[in-house]
């Protein structure tokens, strides 16, 4: 079964293979350099050496993009990597500005989707979480979370849906409040004497902070207070803090 999943995973990026098998028929889009010059590197990072440069007015075919770098080809067939920021303000064949997107603070303020991974502590045990969120107004978002808590006494799985409100969407350091509900499954360790499996509905309130760093990513940290609704006479309470890295689109 795991092997089948792996094979399936390898087959997923068929689009990457299709190009080699059948060739790319569509001509690559072309753009004209408007900066005095742009330098070419052998790979998509500043660590790779500069081996060529294009001057103002030269036409470059835009082949592919990796993070902040664009692979280009000039009229003599040479290929290399130039920084997207260096050719962002370029002109295409119709004379229009190309405006290649370079994500910045403004893009962060206007994001509609975000996703991230976080780690921290849930009642003294380690927690690993992943989430996805959708901003339907600049201030309000709906999020879906999945968490795994691994403690010395039990393993907990948690699923939560919540609403997030951020009062200052245009701030680089943006605080937020959240309210949500979900479900928790507690699976005690096998070595314990009386294992008792439980699953209960939960609700939570929390507050946190997003800090935009650069490009397409930001740091997120939060504190949440959970209420576990048990079938016993008393409900349980749990606190959690997490920190992680997210990307936005």
């Amino acid at each position: 079964m795991p092997i089948a999943i792996l094979i399936l995973m390898l087959c997923l990026p068929v689009t990457a293979w299709a190009g080699w098998l059948w060739g790319d028929d569509e001509p690559a889009p072309r753009a004209q350099v408007v900066e005095p010059f742009v330098v070419w590197r052998t790979g998509p990072a500043v660590g790779y050496p500069v081996f060529h440069s294009s001057e103002k007015g030269e036409w470059l075919s835009l082949l592919q993009r990796k993070t902040g770098w664009m692979k280009v080809r000039d009229d003599k067939g040479r290929e290399g990597w130039v920084a997207v920021a260096a050719i962002a303000q370029t002109r295409d064949a119709t004379g229009e500005m190309v405006n290649l997107s370079v994500p910045d603070l403004e893009a962060f303020s206007n994001r509609t989707l975000e996703s991230g991974l976080m780690m921290g502590e849930f009642e003294g045990a380690s927690v690993i979480s992943g989430y996805g969120g959708w901003w339907f107004t600049p201030n309000l978002a709906a999020e879906l979370w999945g968490s795994q808590v691994l403690g010395s006494a039990s393993e907990i799985l948690m699923v939560n849906a919540n609403i997030v409100h951020q009062p200052f969407p245009h701030w680089r350091v943006s605080p937020y409040f959240t309210l949500g509900a979900g479900h928790i499954w507690v699976d005690p360790k096998a070595t314990l004497a009386v294992p008792e499996e439980r699953d209960n509905p939960i609700a939570h309130a929390g507050l946190g902070l997003r800090v935009y760093i650069t490009d397409r990513y930001f740091i997120r940290a939060e504190f949440k207070d959970y209420k576990v609704f048990t079938s016993r006479s008393t409900n349980e309470e749990a606190t959690e803090w997490k920190i992680g890295l997210s990307i936005f689109f």
Partner: protein, 219 residues
Amino acid sequence: MENRTKYLFLTGFCLAQVMAFTPNVFAAEESDRDDRPLIEPDVKPVPVDEALIDTENFEIGAFVGVLNIEDFESSMVYGGKLTYHLSESFFFEAGIGFAEGGETSFENLAGNVQVLADGERDYQYYNINLGYNILPGEAFLTENYAFNTNFYLIAGAGATDFGGDTRFTLNAGAGYQILLTDSLSIHLGVRQHYYRIDVVGAEKTSMNTEISSGLSVFF
């Protein structure tokens, strides 16, 4: 420099031409002038649509190697990885791996004793990691042919399902990536996995070393 020279000569040449012919042109009737080019270009200029430029920030791959499971011999390990490149330096990686624990020395020496049931010897893990390309570079196969490479450091956390329980697991390591093409790469990696386990006596930190090689595709 070459362009500059050409430019100077060509401008001079054109100016001379213009001077030589201008009087004739102006002598002709103004209304007869036709601004259309002699040959209509057949190609229409195509605007750049950013969405059509192939963006390759994701990488998916499979790996195989050897995992040394503390107290439980070494085993073949295989798995898959999904990577998202945040920037030229940082990347997220999510991985899963499968292996199988062998027998402890105690089981081998004592004979008919089993510390774990057979099903509990299945070793599975997942982890989510943050990597940093610390040494991007080029590896030269011949004088004129080079592969781009990356030496990266990576660390993260996840869970290991082994010995009847799921355990919080930290991992750290390093890897060497050789990009055969812009879309295809080879990975060689070393990873150390740490978790707390109490299957053989007192609870202790188990350190498991993994050495693997893998193939990945960008998309």
